[in-house]
Symmetry: C2
Subunit: 300 residues, 2 copies
């Protein structure tokens, strides 16, 4: 059987069998970051993201934006766990004929994002390949009491988004997005977050991850889903992915408090967690309810 038949999520499941955990690991795979024991008050977060030419960006993409994205996707993972990024390594493979100007612009994009979030680029590796490939591994810290996982959603929680969805590839948003560190900080410091994830595979797929981990269901409302101007359709907003907004759930009292104090940020209430099976119900503008398929972006 080839990977295209098996599918990415089945492959990830196979990969998980690799996972050996000793007592120094608080949480292995299955979340945005691995969570490692650190000191009395903190966990250490560890994540890696690989971007590949022709898959995550086209070969004509401005290298400055490619460098930006390479760092920003890992920052988004740290944000999704309520943490603060600290250090990263950059492994880079590129063709022999790559121009120096291209590399300098790539590095400039990386450096700008790293500096903005106070991240030390402490090393990496260089290799040669036909497609430009960048893997960034990032370390972060999170206070134990501020750690948020995908697995904590409870029935009755309100479901929120930090921004509008859709058309990310078309608009270039997937290259230029701002990782939601500011929002994550505000939420983690001031609210009792039950669960959080960043939208990389698409709203429905990533909400599906929260439901799967939390063993819950969800109802979302078509009229509440924020679509940006590049979203071609509701379907695009629900499934296309690479939005890098945060999706999180809050108990109702905290939700009401958040809606009153948005502090210049934007938080969109889109639905509610329900008990029972891991399905997602969509209430459309005519108040009809239907169950959605939890599919999303697939690499294979």
């Amino acid at each position: 059987m080839s990977l295209s038949k098996l599918g990415e999520f089945a492959l990830i499941d196979r990969f998980k069998r690799l996972i050996k955990l000793d007592k120094t690991v608080f949480k292995g795979t299955g979340d945005d970051c691995a969570v490692l024991k650190f000191d009395r008050k903190h966990y250490q977060l560890l994540t890696s993201d690989m971007i590949v030419e022709g898959v995550d960006f086209t070969s004509g993409t401005n290298p400055y934006l490619v460098g930006r994205k390479a760092i920003a996707v890992s920052v988004s993972d740290i944000a999704a766990c309520g943490g603060i990024p600290g250090h990263c390594l950059v492994s880079l493979a590129m063709p022999r004929q790559t121009k120096l100007e291209f590399v300098d612009n790539l590095f400039r994009g990386m450096r700008e994002v790293a500096e903005k979030y106070g991240i030390n680029i402490v090393g990496g590796d260089l290799s040669r390949s036909r497609q430009l490939t960048i893997d960034v591994s990032m370390l972060g810290l999170v206070k134990k009491k501020e750690l948020v996982l995908r697995s904590g959603a409870r029935a009755g929680d309100f479901i929120f988004l930090t921004g509008p969805l859709g058309g990310s590839f078309k608009s270039g948003h997937h290259l230029k997005f701002t990782p939601r560190i500011k929002e994550s900080r505000y939420l983690a410091e001031n609210f009792n977050l039950h669960s959080m994830v960043d939208i990389s595979d698409g709203l429905i797929a990533d909400l599906g991850h929260i439901l799967e981990r939390s063993q819950k269901g969800a109802v979302i409302y078509e009229e509440l889903i924020p679509k940006n101007k590049y979203a071609l359709s509701l379907k695009d907003a629900l499934y296309s992915g690479e939005d890098f907004e945060l999706l999180f759930t809050l108990p109702q009292d905290a939700a009401r408090r958040l809606l009153k104090k948005q502090k210049g940020m934007r938080f969109f209430l889109i639905g509610q967690i329900i008990s029972g099976p891991k399905k997602i119900l969509l209430v459309d503008v005519k108040r009809r309810c239907r169950e959605l398929e939890t599919k999303g972006f697939r690499h294979f």
Copy 2:
């Protein structure tokens, strides 16, 4: 200018300009691992290594051995700093038509090495690419007093190797090598190591790294260089690389002690650190002395 003209080491120098260090970083690039502050007694080590099909292994290579190598090269980096590996992430990009059996064997190779050294594989990333590409990032710990860098060689130190060199690609050693954790442990716990590096770019290039960082020179003796049976020539043993043996320097009294107590391991004395310029002098079997060019494996 393209990368093939610029060369890998000039590119690494450009990359280093990226490096921003705050007080939580003890040592950034320029060594086998980045060294981060951790607790009162330990530093944390962080390293990443990317291997690419057609560069670091051929497309026909047994996937079990590819998986093995992907993990082992990072273990070797941790060993070169005197540390103990703890956690790793695996980022993997591969073609859509990759067979499941291939992936299972790849994972088996990774798991075996990880288990042997007590390493938790805590997550990673999956993507699609034309060439199989694996980047492993690894965390380790080292006692502060046991940390060894490339920069500590002193004039008069004796220079040692943990094993014979040469013919690594031809013999398959670059896929099957045993990372020198056992040797590193014995040395770090019992001897005052002044400097250490693992041989990935070739003896002369990696000794060059020690000399560059330590601002010293070296004399090595042709008759003392241990060549394995696959080494085609002295030149092959000196320059070909991917041996993954440790190269280290010890003050003379410790060196004498080591030569008496090898504890079933093998330590080969090959020469001595000298003061002054960063050149490497080779004394041949006829006692003639010549200066060597410090070149090694180049990706570009």
